[in-house]
Subunit: 339 residues, 2 copies
DNA sequence: CTGTTAGCGCATTCAT
DNA sequence: ATGAATGCGCTAACAG
């Protein structure tokens, strides 16, 4: 195992010179720096993480907590965890995965043992126990998502309200007067991240403000299809659909419409809001304001690293503006539908 | 920050006594042990990871590598990563996530910096560069999956051959004489883990051995449905289906059959092989020999920890016997089909 | 610009 | 059964 001392000897300098030459934390003559780097390279030297952490009081590791309910969608979680990991590497940080049943214990442990320099909290629920815990820990914590009680916390999230409003606005502008929101199942609404609820509320409010008819349907936990069918049976006048639901349900929308002879966008305009694209699967063929991990996770890591390094003051909620991905699924309402 | 010294003082003993009392690595009188534990509890003491690792030459961390191709299925990957993480915690290990573009660099780095005590390699390809790397590293490595060149490596995987054979056998026993395997797309066959290929080969061999007709269809990358339709168009005599494909494709099988008026199992028997159940989604309504992370990951971690602790000798390929999950999707072939 | 040195917090070896 | 002392490999403060 090659240590800093080996490098120092090889380069003919002191170990502190090696340390500084490699970390760049103080000025070193170009000449010796080259020698040190060359020696390190030659010996294949890399500072041992534990020694570095002990002496430097920084582990260069961030932890990620993701609660995993039985019915949780792994795909989206992985996408977020990966986005964090990738972003962390940009800052030369590694990522520790905390996915035990008791997220709280994991967070406590990492903080107490100084396993990580900071924690990113994913899949935040409206009433998330990790919020209170984060306030108690000495450790920097950034939430990707906004708990209801976010006093004193640092949070970052997509601006779902704005995304929903823009979706409604897109449909309204196209002349649609009767809209429906395909939302999450009751179970998700009840306990998961609070954004589905925020979307529902915003949807209703926006529609009302513009004098549009608005309906909300929530698929039952066990059925992926059927929701849209039932909706169209009851309300054949609906011409604009907003999708913010499980991917299986969203996948079933196209076929369901097709089965009724309804084409998108001629007979039905569709916009997705807050749906996470799944790598490896075909993207939804609808206009979308996606909940893309890339929108929030890199920013969350930037924030966290900033706090760790003392460059950034913790606290505050940051909402990231939604991005519109057009896919041609919104068209002007047809005349005969307007009557 | 409370250190071991604080605990020693509080308990009125030396720091080595505290260390031993807490680690149990040498005999301590019950009396003092209690005092130490009480003191530690009172002060909320937890040994700092970095100090522990530096002095003890063990980080209590294992790293997990998962390559992430663009078309990779995140859901399954997450399930595996989580299974490893959960299993690791049972051994008091934490998990570091390595998911950079260059898995190799990540592995090298963790080994060189002693970031982790060992590495679990997931989503192993037939021709996996990590195999060669693993042989070079000093660091214990366990593969969940079997690279073609596994000389000197420690691998553990589901016994896909046996799973496939049992699937064919189940169909054969029920009287089916014309089978089809719905496999992966060409792209996956070409580069991903080698098990799809192993399944295909075993399928053909098993069918041949029993004098059954066997066909293989591979969905194209972009279509989820359509494969089964095409299959049934061309070969209406098929009465037994083996599924080992993307979950979207598998999901499309039921509806496709239904559309043709074919019922499961009356008109068509179906068995899934090597498909990973997705938590949060509805399980396939078919008999299955699943590729469940729980079958391999905990065992892989056990192995790895064993190697780390010197209890287990590295090397060798372990195949885990498949588990049959019955769901009533296999029935005796109907007479009129046999003719 | 470079070298010397004092810990970082703990596991462990050697005494007792 | 317990304590004292050593050092893991590195960073950073201090001294030139």
């Amino acid at each position: 195992m090659v240590t800093i001392e080996d490098v120092a000897r090889e380069a003919g300098v002191s170990i502190s010179t090696v340390s500084y030459a490699l970390s760049g934390k103080r000025a070193i003559s170009e000449e010796t720096r080259r020698r040190v780097v060359a020696a390190a390279e030659r010996l294949g030297y890399m500072p041992k993480a534990a020694a570095r952490a002990l002496a430097g009081k920084r582990t260069h590791v961030i932890a990620v907590t993701t609660p995993l309910h039985a019915d949780t969608d792994h795909s989206a979680h992985m996408a977020f965890a990966m986005a964090v990991t990738t972003a962390a590497r940009e800052h030369d940080f590694d990522t520790l995965l905390l996915v035990q049943d008791d997220e709280l214990e994991g967070m406590r442990r990492t903080a107490a043992t100084l396993l990580a320099d900071g924690i990113v909290v994913l899949d935040v629920a409206a009433d998330d126990a990790r919020a209170e815990l984060a306030r108690q820990l000495r450790c920097p914590v950034v939430f990707v998502g906004v708990p209801t009680d976010n006093e004193g916390l640092t949070c970052i999230d997509l601006d779902f309200e704005r995304a929903t409003e823009e979706a409604v606005e897109a449909l309204r502008t196209a002349g649609h007067r009767s809209l429906a929101l395909v939302s999450q199942g009751q179970d998700v609404i009840d306990r998961a991240s609070n954004y589905p609820l925020r979307i529902e509320r915003t949807f209703v409010a926006a529609a009302e403000r513009h004098g549009l008819e608005a309906r909300i349907v929530r698929p039952r936990p066990d059925t992926s299809t059927g929701v849209v069918e039932a909706l169209l049976d009851e309300h054949p006048d609906v011409t604009g659909l907003v999708l913010s639901t499980r991917s299986e349900v969203a996948d079933a929308v196209g076929p369901a419409l097709e089965r009724r002879g309804l084409r998108v966008p001629e007979d039905m305009s569709v916009v997705a809001v807050g749906m996470t694209p799944e790598p490896g699967r075909q993207p939804l063929p609808f206009d979308s304001f996606p909940l893309d991990p890339q929108l929030t996770c890199p920013a969350a890591v930037d924030l966290l690293v900033g706090i760790i390094e003392g460059r950034v003051v913790p606290g505050g909620v940051q909402l990231v503006p939604p991005v519109h991905q057009a896919r041609g699924s919104v068209a002007p309402v047809r005349m005969r539908d307007v009557r």
